[in-house]
């Protein structure tokens, strides 16, 4: 079962420049495991040293925040779209 993961620009280089990747997995947890297997380097960007999902990256399944569902255990179905949204500061002179 495959889902589509839409990557923010800061993570695209880990996937060789791809904007979206197809990944197998029945839960967010499985998808992220497979992301790391397919493209080494994701885990260190998505998780902190204790293995918790970094708080500055929001994860959406279709349009719903996984924190309003079952977090990393949120179940997925074929064709779901996962979007990763990191915080951005920019505005005025952008992130001095």
């Amino acid at each position: 079962m495959a889902v589509e993961v839409r990557l923010p620009m800061i993570l695209q280089k880990v996937a060789g420049g791809a904007k979206t990747v197809k990944v197998e997995g029945k839960s967010i947890h499985e998808v992220f495991d497979n992301l790391e297997k397919n493209h080494h380097g994701f885990a260190s960007r998505l998780f902190d040293n204790e293995g918790n999902l970094n708080h500055f990256i929001m994860v959406y399944v279709n349009n719903e925040d996984i924190r309003l569902q079952r977090g990393m255990q949120t179940e997925l179905k074929d064709g779901d779209v996962i979007t990763l949204l990191p915080a951005m500061a920019g505005g005025e002179d952008c992130c001095r």
Binding site: M58, A89, G91, E92, D93, C94
Partner: protein, 268 residues
């Protein structure tokens, strides 16, 4: 506010609003009676300020301690080549009054800080966050929560932007992002660049939200966040909710006063 009588000039200036169903004379009076604080007069604040001024928002507060630099002019349309070297609030005030001398501009040529933020925010109905760094984002957020002010958020990076409207009691920036990225994790626009037109789009979404909120029309982006990709020209909307465990706006807040935001963001 209801007592504001239009001058002949105002009737002509705002005629397209006065004609517009949903705004009308009543709505225009609301705009003229409203006050908005713009945090930052750069990429996001520039288009927002120009359109809010043109719309006749009666009082615009401008917070910025920066000086106009040549590299700003690729996107910060409040400022012009002849303004290089001027304080941004000065050139912004000139540009705003060139469009509409009918409104009041209040310059705050200071760095927004834990010492002054609550006093400054308290004087306005709505805050529009066009700041450029995480410490200020969290400071603006917390000050708005403590003063129960709507916080119209916009942020940009590279080719992407996001916007949302945090209404009091309906979630805040910390509900979305409880902590900022560690320094160096997310590249800055200064390092990675930003498409010049991008803050125009996002800043005007913020201005639109502000005007809707003042007029009480439509549906603001409360509990919704719009994410914009300039490359694919896609707008994506995602939902969020107030986090009951939010340290600032949750049921049992652990942060009840402004803190040291440089330290909080790992910059000290």
């Amino acid at each position: 506010m209801a007592d504001i009588r239009f001058s002949e000039e105002q009737i002509r200036r705002y005629s397209r609003h006065i004609l517009l169903q949903g705004v009308g004379g009543k709505g225009q009076r609301k705009l003229l009676g409203a006050s908005v604080l713009l945090v930052g007069t750069g990429g996001l604040g520039s288009p927002a300020a120009l359109y809010l001024a043109a719309a006749g928002v009666g009082k615009l507060g401008l917070v910025d301690f920066d000086i106009v630099d040549l590299s700003n002019l690729q996107r910060q349309v409040l400022h012009h080549t002849h303004d290089i070297g001027r304080p941004k609030v000065e050139s912004a005030t000139t540009a705003i009054h060139d469009i509409n001398p009918d409104i009041q501009v209040v310059p705050h040529t200071v760095k927004l800080s834990s010492e002054n933020a609550l006093d400054i925010v308290a004087d306005y109905d709505i805050v529009l966050d066009g700041s450029d760094n995480f410490p200020t984002r969290y400071l603006v957020n917390d000050a708005c929560v403590f003063k129960s002010k709507p916080n119209i958020h916009g942020s940009i990076l590279l080719f992407h932007g996001m916007a949302t409207t945090f209404l009091p009691g309906r979630g805040c920036y910390r509900c979305l992002y409880p902590v900022p990225p560690p320094p160096g994790t997310v590249p800055s626009c200064q390092e990675a660049g930003v498409l010049g037109v991008l803050p125009g789009i996002i800043g005007l979404i913020q201005a639109t939200e502000t005007i809707k909120l003042i007029l009480g029309i439509g549906e603001v982006l409360s509990e919704r966040l719009v994410f914009y990709d300039a490359l694919t020209m896609e707008f994506k909307e995602v939902k969020y909710k107030r986090n009951p465990r939010c340290p600032v706006c949750g049921e049992e807040p652990s942060i009840t006063r402004l803190v040291d935001y440089e330290e909080f963001c790992g910059l000290r």
